[in-house]
């Protein structure tokens, strides 16, 4: 639609430039009855004007198109910000409504479990089964509450205490959380950690949540038999963490949509579609950036986290993060 518009505009501009340039020449030719040499010169000037008007119009159309595309991009970003803000308030509402009944389930089952401890095993035939059922309920309520807390983390931008974080240690610890899953699916974790990375003041728990989420996603992307490589590096101001998987990569048309909340390629019930949206929001609130690309040889995806190296706790970063965190 826009392209057609610009094409028409280009034609109009060419015509306008041409008429403006050629008309005076034509008038001169009519008024002064020129010699054949002058006619040749005038013709040459007309050709020059044609070329110039063509290039000028192309130049303007290109400028218009670029401005237009910038405006579209800005519109999209604005729409995204608004969407994230409304998700934030929705999340706050959901957590409020769900956490209270979850608390009641947990309290009731906790009480039941306690009282079961008083029972005589000889009298209650299925005592162990009841106890296990209580443990099961508690486990699943805690699972549900983790989701609501993640939503809560999404709704509010920072809670945070900044501590001195060694990124290499954080990565190794996070790897240990997922080792069993990797082993079970025959996926090898390869760590390439730059020695001597400086510690940075940041919110370690939230950064770990991001790294855990990205590593877990990488395992899901590989599914079976493959590699997930995590490398760390630094430049003057930033620490960089790359999570590289040997999965199928991200389809080109999804490279932007993966950041949208509730976007998921996982099976129903396996993913909330919030992981990447929350991760990006967290990294931004820490003053960094989270990006995704495919490996150049087409054998998997690379997620890159960049966080600033802060020697002291930077409160202004958090404040900026709060403003930008919804993107």
């Amino acid at each position: 639609m826009h392209q057609e518009h610009h094409k028409k505009l280009g034609q109009l501009l060419t015509a306008a430039f041409f008429v403006c340039g050629v008309m005076p020449i034509g008038l001169m030719a009519l008024v002064s009855l020129p010699s054949s040499r002058q006619i040749a010169l005038l013709a040459l000037a007309a050709v020059g004007i044609c070329a110039a008007s063509f290039w000028l119009s192309r130049f303007f159309v290109a400028r218009f198109t670029a401005t237009d595309q910038d405006a579209i991009k800005l519109d999209e970003q604005m729409a995204h910000v608004e969407k994230m803000a409304s998700i934030g308030s929705l999340a706050a509402g959901i957590t409020h409504d769900i956490n209270n009944p979850l608390q009641m389930i947990l309290s009731h089952v906790g009480w039941m479990h306690e009282l079961l401890g008083d029972e005589d095993p000889a009298q209650v035939k299925n005592l162990e089964e009841y106890k296990n059922a209580c443990i099961g309920i508690r486990h699943h309520v805690n699972r549900a509450s983790k989701i609501t807390h993640r939503l809560l983390g999404f709704a509010r931008k920072t809670d945070g205490e900044q501590t001195s974080v060694q990124v290499n240690e954080l990565v190794e610890e996070t790897r240990s959380f997922l080792e069993k899953k990797a082993l079970y699916n025959n996926i090898e974790f390869v760590l390439q950690l730059e020695p001597g990375l400086p510690a940075t003041m940041t919110e370690g728990n939230r950064l770990q949540q991001v790294v855990l989420n990205l590593m877990d996603n990488a395992l899901d992307a590989v599914a079976q038999d493959g590699k997930v490589c995590i490398s760390t590096s630094r430049d003057d101001r930033q620490i960089r963490i790359d999570i590289i998987d040997s999965g199928p990569g991200i389809p080109a048309q999804m490279l932007t949509t993966i950041w949208n909340p509730f976007f998921t390629t996982k099976k129903k019930g396996e993913g909330t579609g919030l992981g990447l949206a929350i991760s990006r929001s967290i990294v931004q609130s820490l003053g960094g950036a989270l990006t995704a690309q495919n490996r150049s040889d087409g054998t998997g995806a690379i997620f890159t986290v960049k966080i600033p190296i802060n020697t002291v706790a930077i409160t202004s970063t958090i404040e900026t993060g709060q403003e930008n965190g919804t993107i």
Binding site: N99, M104, L106, W111, R138, N142, A155
Partner: protein, 144 residues
Amino acid sequence: MARYSVLIVDDEEDFREITTKQLIRRDVNCESAPDGDSALKMINVQHYDVVLLDVKMPGKDGIETLREIKRIAPMTEVIMLTGHATVESGINGIKYGAFDYLMKPMDMEPLMEKLDAAYERKRIQQEKIESAQSKNNLARPTKG
């Protein structure tokens, strides 16, 4: 004898009822109030070591109630309970003198840990004040 006393202030009746039972079972003296105003009335006539206070309740909200409690009974420790996206209120509560905050849903273990820790702080503070007072009393006659 009970180890210490707790007042639960929460508008969820079920929560008050079960938590009271659970605390009594753990040798903690426990009573409850459905809202801020009734809690304040109870605190006016009786002493509690720790108050477990919901941030969001009908009527007087948690922060207001907290400020009143701290005015009436400054030694009483308060733990804020947040059941929704107002962790900020919990943190805000700490600014107004709450001991800590807990996010719902929570298991009994973390609740007990926080309650014990809150009581411990209260006990130590109380001891300090008492020893300061007794030193003061001892110091007076020698001065004179």
